[in-house]
Amino acid sequence: MKQKKVRVLIAKPGLDGHDRGAKVVARFLQENGYEVIYTGLHQSPEQIVNAALQEAVDAIGISVLSGSHNYVFPEVMKLLKERGMGDVVVFGGGTIPEEDIPPLLATGVKALFRPGTPLEEVLEFMKENVG
């Protein structure tokens, strides 16, 4: 029996226009057998969580290069919990200073990838934590 494809939402929150990283990760995961849904730019945490619900995804990857990570990640985690979607794996990346990472992980974000992270590392993370 063919296994059902793992579904991942790649999301760009806020007004930030830096989508190079999000798109490269989206395409790479797709090339590696994942079902990837990309939100496009300019999404609110609410819209991201709604999209995740509608698309019944197993994971959400959020790319932030606007400095708004300390708002976006906790907000998404809160909304997921409220909707009973606590089992969705959330990860992210972008220009997130090292010292901001531990508090964000404490909100339940599974991993935050810093600039320069090899795509293979993201893939390994997905295999281990999502499927």
């Binding site: 790649i10 806020g14 007004l15 930030d16 226009g17 830096h18 989508d19 190079r20 999000a22 798109k23 490269v24 989206a26 395409r27 790479f28 797709q30 990837v36 990309y38 939100t39 496009g40 730019l41 300019h42 609110s44 606007s66 400095g67 708004s68 990570h69 300390n70 708002y71 976006v72 907000e75 220009t95 997130i96 200073p97 090292e98 010292e99 810093r114 600039p115 320069g116 090899p118 795509l119 293979e120």
Partner: protein
Amino acid sequence: MADNQNLEAIRKENERWAHKVAEATARWPERQEEFRSLSEIPIQRLYTPADVPELEYLKDLGYPGEYPFTRGVQTTMYRGRLWTMRQFSGFGTAEETNQRYKFLLENGQTGLSVAFHYPTLKGVNSDHPLARGEVGKCGVAIDSLRDMEILFDGIPLDQVTTSMTINHPAPVLLAMYLVVAEKQGVGWDKVGGTVQNDPLKEFFAQKSFIWPPRESVRLLVDTMEFCMKNVPKWHPVSISGYHIREAGSTAQQELAFTLADGIAYVQAAVERGLDVNAFGPMLSFFFDAHMDFFEEIAKFRAARRMWARIMKERFGATNLKALWLRFHTQTAGVSLTAQQPLNNIVRTAFEALSAVLGGTQSLHTNSFDEAEALPTEEAVTVALRTQQIIAHETGAANTVDPLAGSYFVEALTNEMERQAEEYIRKIDDLGGMITAVEQGYPQDEIMRASMEFQKAVEEGRKVIVGVNKYQMGEEKPIPILKIDDAVERAQIARIEDTKRNRDNAKVERCLQEIRDTARAGDNLLYPILEAVREYALLGEICDALVDVFGAYEDPAVF
């Protein structure tokens, strides 16, 4: 470059030498089978006159300040005046950024360059739901004339020139700047500077768009027309390759798409009935300086030559200054690494040197901490000092276009031009850049290039020191500039206060005038100026135009 007899002899000698190379490489193979530039241009072992056989000095290079400007736009270049050291900056509130500007001016910076935060770039107010967490983070928060008055408080606008990185909302920010000048008692004829105002690259590079492509180009032409009449020293557009490159393009694509955008704007202005000889000198350009030293120099030189020929041959410009490609350069933000951040000082220095050797008119050098956040004052100082060291210690500014005549640099300049011309032909075939953008052509090309680059890094074919080679384990974190969340609250409070203290009925009439003018097809700068004077908010003005033009949404393809 060489006469025929000489060329024959050189070709013969090249063959002889090739045998020696074969012997040498049989014993000591070269480090790689093939050498390629950062943008995948194959690089030969050696360049000789035989690699630039067609190059004619007077036709293809000429003299500085003369057609086709390959060697530079000014006659004496940096011997006359150094490039403008223009550090792009802005963060937090207008008060904080005003302090930073004064600090930079006191330290020898010679021009200002405003970085706006995302809500301003996108034409929304700081109290917009999508602005949560972003206020003052990537730049300074400007919601109305009130913020602009604070931003330039104590900075005489007849004595500095200011560049503003703002695109779709550019007419509004320019209007705010002009009203501030007015209030300082400075006539518009004495105000100098630039608004980026390059709408098309927003759809495939920087992605801070509001209105659809055609409507946004109309606003650009409105701005050009207005400046020609009222603000003669202002550059109403800075046609920008920087963001194209940062979005993942190659150097050739950066060059081609930038010039293709320029062609679209000139075309639109000519169709409006504007005189190419009159507005040509007001155009300016903006490029990225990336890590491949010679490739970048070749790109800058090719850009000047190509634009001069485009303006002359395609648009029939005869005014020499209308053929000028004058440009600002910023070192490549994407080349900065979060790993071993001090290495970024070295990267930035090489990139900056390539811009100087390429003949830039102004330069921004990135700070070493910018892979993680906006720069600290210490990091900015090092970045500015890097330019001063190049200017005063290296000797690079002592002669004009020092690399001209290098067989390698000339061959690479030709190759850059050839590849960019191919792209421009393709865009012409599609029906021009506006149509190409609507069809997603540059978007696809950039996506492909950025994916290929990432794969090359993953496979180690491209080395990034500290990232995929010479890594270190645990690294000590560097100090990071923190933007307090209080900025967001303060900015929202100021919006409320502004709304309470203005004539709201008057503002509403101004916004209606903007809608009516948009429908009538008249120049929008005039009603925008009136709205700005009444303290209409940036988001209110942009929304009024959305009512007529519609909003552009990201197609979300990858």
